[in-house]
Symmetry: C2
Subunit: 242 residues, 2 copies
């Protein structure tokens, strides 16, 4: 550990009051906690929950096995912390990206690509969710649930504004839209992973767009035009024969 130069910081603070003193100690503690979570995140993502050992995590960030248990009740609690970190990051980068764009379609495309990228990057982190007991009855007031909801809200805001501006079909419930959107992406990413073809992300996104967005009236009116023409042709034929 690099406590050496931190002790200097500590000595300065020792002249201050008890509060700021506690603060620096807490800061050090939080630094170590982050290190543990970060290492766990890396290892869980490399080998999955089952094949990752506490020993491995402890070694990975230079602490003793027992130390991990000072910070997290057990392996599952650590996995939960990892998931929370993942979701926090996911939500934040998603919101930032959306804020930098204007049109609903651009925003949806960004969200799709962003989700696929992140989820592929840390595929095995998401797999922790079922492992750490989804069946938890206290899930609804867990940090995880809150984070999950706040990530969902990023999409919901985009969808809402899209419906209001008439870009998105209005007969679809927003939560259904969201489930289909993210569900379709997750599933597609999984099947594409299995077939080792990550190239046609865009086909899925295009498909989703086609299903969600109101068709550009051009295409639609073109059909109507054709119908009209056929109508006239039919009349002519009927006359010439009749």
């Amino acid at each position: 550990m690099n406590e050496g130069h931190l002790s200097g910081e500590g000595r300065i603070v020792s002249q201050a009051n008890a509060t700021s003193l506690n603060k620096t100690r807490r800061q050090r503690v939080e630094l170590k906690e982050e290190a543990i979570v970060e290492t766990a995140r890396r290892l869980f993502n490399e080998k999955g929950f089952g094949k990752t050992t506490i020993s491995g995590i402890a070694k990975g960030c230079g602490v003793a096995d027992g130390t991990v248990y000072l910070y997290f009740k057990n392996k599952e609690a650590l996995a939960q912390a990892v998931l929370e970190a993942f979701y926090r990051d996911l939500k934040e980068t998603a919101q930032d990206g959306v804020d930098a764009l204007d049109s609903t379609e651009e925003q949806l495309r960004f969200l799709a690509e962003h989700h696929l990228t992140k989820v592929n990057q840390e595929r095995r982190i998401l797999e922790l969710l079922p492992i750490i007991g989804v069946s938890l009855d206290n899930y609804k007031d867990s940090k995880l649930f809150t984070l999950n909801k706040s990530y969902a809200r990023v999409f919901d805001r985009v969808a809402k504004s899209g419906v209001k501006s008439g870009v998105i079909k209005r007969d679809l419930a927003p939560w259904v839209l969201r489930d289909v959107f993210y569900g379709g992406l997750d599933y597609a990413s999984r099947t594409m992973m299995m077939h080792e073809r990550t190239d046609n992300f865009s086909a899925v996104v295009d498909g989703l767009m086609a299903m969600m967005l109101v068709p550009k009236s051009a295409a639609n009116s073109a059909l109507e035009d054709v119908a009209e023409r056929f109508d006239k042709i039919a009349e002519r034929i009927e006359k010439s024969i009749g």
Copy 2:
């Protein structure tokens, strides 16, 4: 074990040739194998992979711990067998249901409801998939991959015929349709589980239908009307010429 009355069967067979002898032995063996898989399926589904013990499974079907390892290389192989059984059943019941229906829309609705029912019933079985190493490079020639594909084909056939008959939008790639369909269902079932509201399955299915099917719009029926008229005209022309 109820080997007592089976020994009688065995004595009869002992008068037959070596082939049928092997067969009955294999039958007994397969019966036990099925019993192990069935117990494992139940326990995995109740407690998940991590919290299910080999001892528990062995006790659950009245064999010794070691016996399980005569049938399956290890816990993961057993989990894989469970998954295979699950997919086989899923595919078969799906196909049967589809065969009993006529219209594309009915078939799609059936597939959706069927999938949701089965997946909810054995939620934790599906969670085995990521646990037993998706990253397997030999996945593409595994039984699991084949079964997965054959389940997907049930949907694909319905979708194909739906596209051909004009009920399903034709500008969507079939595999995209499938990913969005099943992905949306899985995701929705998960979120509904979390919110403990399994009542609005139908909202999701309705949403999916609305997104996949060609809207029965004025424009569309206009086209169909014209097509019908052309049909009749063609008939008349053919008659008057022939």
